[in-house]
């Protein structure tokens, strides 16, 4: 794709009025951490479910001085990440990078980078279903009331039922968190492995759900606690194996099937983290 601006379209695709509306929603979201702010989500030239909420947030906050990184499943080279990155390279002529530390804005689907985020960075999450109570209560009017009244009993009951049935909390991704001791929030479908990275994070975390028309946020240095019980504390996934490429034992690993006889290998899901470790090991 060429890097020229798209004729007939505004900088970063969205018109300035729309960006203003989205920025106001973001400000409100930052002011009330974890609260889902309804916003006038637009139809984007990418389908719903492909990250339209995250794309609208990125389009509203990005400027010519930004450096953008886009990841999907932790990797910069998955097709959808490539597609979104080229969308912004094309519509906003923005510099792009795959290096976590270099980026000012990181749009992500399903992962938080392994490298710690810094002050001044913004992490934009793509969110499919923003409502953490949705699968316990299908009605939006009901769940909004439950949030308003801080009526979160159903969530604890659900987690308790998991323990009763399976001996542990059977949620491995999209694991609910409580933000600043007030709102229960969906972290988007990141693995629970990533949940601790949200807590007291130095970067601003913004969440966009395009189809559901909601924006929410975790400002820097905000307390984010994964829900648990005293006798069943929250714990993250671990692997018996190390990354086959860089040997990491502390990153989230993807499993890759290598043959049809049960052969498999494990590699870092964060491709930038993995490549950097390989470079360091090679001494370059």
């Amino acid at each position: 794709m060429n890097a020229e601006a798209m004729p007939g379209y505004n900088y970063a695709y969205l018109d300035e009025q729309t960006k203003g509306m989205i920025r106001r929603a973001i400000l409100k979201a930052v002011a009330i951490p974890g609260y889902q702010v309804p916003f006038g989500s637009r139809e984007m030239p990418l389908p719903y479910g492909w990250g339209t909420g995250g794309i609208q947030i990125t389009a509203s906050i990005i400027g010519p001085d930004d450096v953008l990184k886009v990841i999907d499943q932790g990797a910069d080279d998955t097709t959808n990440a490539v597609s979104i990155r080229s969308f912004f390279a094309r519509t906003a002529q923005v510099a792009t990078t795959t290096t976590t530390e270099e980026a000012t804005v990181i749009q992500t689907r399903h992962r938080i980078p392994e490298a710690p985020l810094k002050s001044g960075q913004i992490l934009v999450y793509q969110v499919p279903i923003p409502e953490p109570l949705r699968f316990m209560e299908p009605s939006e009017s009901e769940t909004r009331t439950m949030h308003a009244l801080e009526e979160y009993g159903v969530m604890h009951v659900k987690l308790y039922e998991d323990i009763a049935e399976h001996g542990r909390i059977a949620t491995s991704y999209n694991y609910p968190v409580k933000v600043e001791d007030r709102y229960i929030m969906c972290p988007s479908p990141i693995p629970k492995f990533d949940n601790p990275k949200m807590d007291n994070c130095q970067a601003l975390q913004l969440f966009g759900a395009g189809r559901e028309k909601r924006i929410y946020a975790i400002p820097p240095h905000t307390r984010v606690k994964s829900l648990d019980f005293e006798d069943h504390p929250f714990e993250i996934q671990s692997w018996d194996e190390a990354c086959s490429i860089c040997g990491s034992r502390k990153s989230f690993l993807d499993e890759i099937i290598t043959d049809d006889h049960g052969g498999r290998m494990f590699v870092c899901s964060d491709s930038d983290f993995c490549a950097r470790r390989v470079r360091e090991q090679e001494g370059t």
């Binding site: 001996g167 991704y173 629970k192 909601r214 996934q237 993807d254």
Partner: protein
């Protein structure tokens, strides 16, 4: 080393080239022109305009062509373009009683002022494949159809004013009057998120953009017992209406164009007893979209169950269910996003399921000991 995830950019570019080739098909067959699509696949164009919420037959034809005839994809293309367009203001409400009628029927009265006009309808065709259409029709045949079509048109030109059937009932006071309700300033669904409970103007906007198949199934479900509203088709009319707009600098309305509309008004289950009166359902589409307009009227009426004090027993009466699931651009995107990579979530679930199995094996083993 595992490299299958690399090269996404090249793969995407190659996929786009293949798509373009498939869209064109066999190059020995002449390429479709937008005019051909607009004129000969006009009902596709109408549906794309309706659900794409943009009245522009030329752009809709382009979208149909670009989408290889996939109407939902075409609707999506049109929507994504529409959302970037500036707003100049609101047109005046169109007056469908002043419609230049091409089709107009009532199922509630044998005859109505202005008469029943079948117009261009599939209704009484026998669904037998017309082999004549499979090859090139003879010029003679086309000319025949054209001439007789013009003669039919002559009748149409002499039409008198055609009051809407429900307005006739309305004068008798036997049907509820159509009011704009408490939300007299209509909202704009494409600018503000849907809030619940949604007012009628928001509901009607949602239904007007809604997927035809979804509305058809919802309307059908009410007929089969999931919230019956006892509908009669008071009137269906299709034809051209003028769109008027008042530019600020002029201060008076000017006609800015003409659009084709299909409108359906249903007469439904009455309320009250001493002052008994029928209730209404309303459906409207761009172009010729009778199936959708009728379905929309059924669903519009169903969604009024709450306000009319009826028991909510079917999905079509549940505003949240209908309004949140009616949009095919949203639905198609979210259903199909499942084909995007979910390695990380699946890996998490794998680890969980393996862990649960290990726990249970451990337990069994300690049991056996």
């Amino acid at each position: 080393m595992y490299v299958a995830v690399k090269g996404g950019e090249k793969a995407i570019a190659a996929a786009h080239r293949m798509l373009a080739r498939e869209r064109r098909g066999d190059e020995s067959v002449p390429e479709l022109s937008l005019e051909q699509i607009r004129e000969q696949l006009s009902l596709s164009v109408d549906r794309v305009m309706s659900e794409g919420s943009l009245y522009d037959p030329h752009l809709a034809a382009l979208a149909v062509k670009q989408a290889r005839g996939d109407l939902m994809e075409a609707i999506f293309l049109l929507r994504a373009y529409r959302t970037t367009l500036p707003r100049f203001g609101y047109a005046l409400p169109v007056d469908t009683s002043r419609m230049h009628i091409r089709r107009r029927i009532s199922a509630t009265f044998k005859d109505v002022p202005g008469g029943q006009i079948l117009g261009p309808t599939f209704d009484y065709t026998h669904r037998l494949l017309d082999w004549d259409l499979s090859g090139h029709r003879s010029a003679e045949k086309d000319a025949d159809a054209l001439v007789s079509g013009e003669m039919d048109g002559a009748v149409e030109a002499t039409q008198e004013a055609m009051p809407r059937v429900l307005d006739v009932l309305g004068r008798e006071g036997i049907i509820e009057s159509e009011t704009s309700g408490p939300d007299s300033e209509p909202g704009d669904l494409t600018r503000e998120p849907l809030t619940l409970p949604a007012g009628r103007s928001m509901r009607l906007q949602n239904l007007a953009r809604a997927d035809e198949g979804f509305l058809l199934a919802m309307g059908y479900s009410t007929q089969r017992g999931f919230g019956n509203s006892h509908p009669f088709v008071g009137e269906i009319r299709m034809g051209e209406v003028e769109v008027e707009f008042t530019p600020e600098e002029l201060g008076f309305p000017v006609t800015i164009g003409e659009i084709t509309l299909t409108e359906c008004e249903t007469v439904n289950q009455f309320i009250g007893s001493g002052d008994a009166r029928f209730t209404r359902g309303y459906g409207l589409t761009f172009g010729q979209g009778e199936r959708k307009a009728m379905s929309m009227a059924l669903v519009d009426r169903s969604l009024r169950a709450g306000e009319l004090g009826e028991e909510v027993r079917g999905p079509a009466q549940d505003g949240e269910f209908v309004l949140y699931h009616s949009d095919n651009v949203e639905a198609s995107g979210f259903v199909q996003h499942l084909k995007l990579p979910h390695y990380v979530d699946f890996q998490s679930e794998l680890a969980l399921v393996r862990g649960l199995r290990r726990d249970s094996t451990d337990k069994e083993e300690s049991h056996e000991r």
